[in-house]
């Protein structure tokens, strides 16, 4: 079990806030940290890595990484860290980037083979694509067989096709190395595919914890199809009303009756709900 009980004062986007979490994470699990930007996700990851100070206790399977008296330095925490912007050494080849962490040539060869990078081992990072760089970064993070693999939005700079490929690699390596993985992510498809648990942070606190379906499936009573949007307009048409709602990058229309139409205001945040039986899919 990994027990994390930490507190830290932060300057959030909307003033001062306290990061205050008490988490118990099972070994070998894959946890997604979700929540709006400024909710404390990245700070929590950096505190686990020892890159930032905080009050409290971090206990990783009986080994204390920090308590009131001491804080183990990052190099001795047995973690792997994958950053959004890769953070590779530009003047070292792919292989040298891996060997910098640990001189185990066999492990480096094995990792590069698993991620189909063997042929690129002598290349410099700036000659690689974004997806290749992130795969190198992932391999490097695993070179000291970390107990805890920490990833801060590892796929957010990549295009959708490359994301799917990397999701597959991340899951394969997570299983092969038996790490406990904590990944900051905003992307529901990524969270659904990879994580067994989702922890939702808001203003430095855990507001929800559960399986991806429990946390991400928004419902309204028995209606399982629920999207949040902004009400742009209500137009009267014959004896009914048509509401125009912006959801993400799109606009949808919803038919309202007279009583519904009079109960909403233009500009309001609204939820568009229907039963899972009503929508159909096309491609």
């Amino acid at each position: 079990m990994i027990n994390i009980n930490i507190q830290k004062q932060l300057q959030g986007s909307s003033g001062a806030m306290e990061l205050n979490v008490d988490l118990h994470i099972k070994e070998h699990s894959f946890v997604a940290l979700a929540g709006q930007s400024g909710s404390g996700k990245t700070t929590l990851l950096r505190i686990l890595a020892g890159l930032e100070k905080a009050a409290g206790v971090i206990d990783v399977s009986g080994v204390l990484w920090q308590d009131e008296k001491k804080s183990v330095v990052p190099q001795k925490r047995n973690i792997g860290f994958v950053f959004q912007d890769y953070a590779l050494f530009a003047n070292m080849s792919v292989e040298q980037n891996l060997l910098y962490v640990n001189k185990d040539r066999e492990l480096a060869k094995h990792l590069l083979m698993l991620t189909e990078l063997s042929e690129l081992k002598d290349r410099l990072p700036n000659t690689l694509s974004g997806g290749q760089k992130q795969r190198v970064s992932l391999c490097r993070a695993l070179m000291n067989r970390p107990k805890l693999l920490l990833m801060d939005e590892p796929l957010s700079a990549l295009d959708p096709g490359m994301r799917t490929k990397l999701q597959h690699d991340i899951l394969m390596l997570h299983k092969e190395f038996g790490t406990t993985t904590i990944m900051v992510s905003h992307d529901p498809s990524e969270i659904y595919r990879l994580a067994d648990r989702v922890i939702m942070l808001e203003q430095g606190r855990v507001i929800q914890e559960g399986t991806s379906k429990e946390v991400l499936l928004h419902t309204r009573g028995s209606q399982k199809f629920s999207l949040t949007g902004e009400l742009l307009d209500i137009i009267k048409a014959d004896v009914i009303y048509i509401a125009v709602v912006a959801i993400g990058q799109q606009i949808v229309e919803v038919v309202l009756d007279e009583a519904e139409a009079s109960s909403f205001k233009i500009g309001q945040r609204v939820q568009v709900n229907t039963k899972a039986f009503a929508p159909s899919l096309s491609h």
Partner: protein
Amino acid sequence: MNKMNAVITAIESFEGITIVSFESASQPMRMMALELDETLQVGSKVLLGAKASNIALAKGALEMLSISNCLDTVVDSVENGVLLSSVKLRFGESLLISVITRDSSKRINLQPGDHVTALIKASELSVLEIKR
């Protein structure tokens, strides 16, 4: 969204599909759903919802209908538009709205005071709220 108070009288589940039976205004109702909130049980009070455009109307005798919800209602008012009609119905203490084509409204000659059956498919009925 039309709203009706109801009490759960039975819950059947199989492989993530649930059929819930209710009583509302002394009349039986049924809903088809996926997994439900675990706090729902027989005796729970809920608010049911149905879209106005998902309520069909019938006058006279009904035979052999697959529709689960056939509610006895009384027409309160009929607003005829150019193409559509909005029909207000008294159902127990609730006032329901049904939106149908004006042609249909004329064809069955809907008038205030008429006894009509409001038809709602089980898949188009929802639980909006659980009453605590």
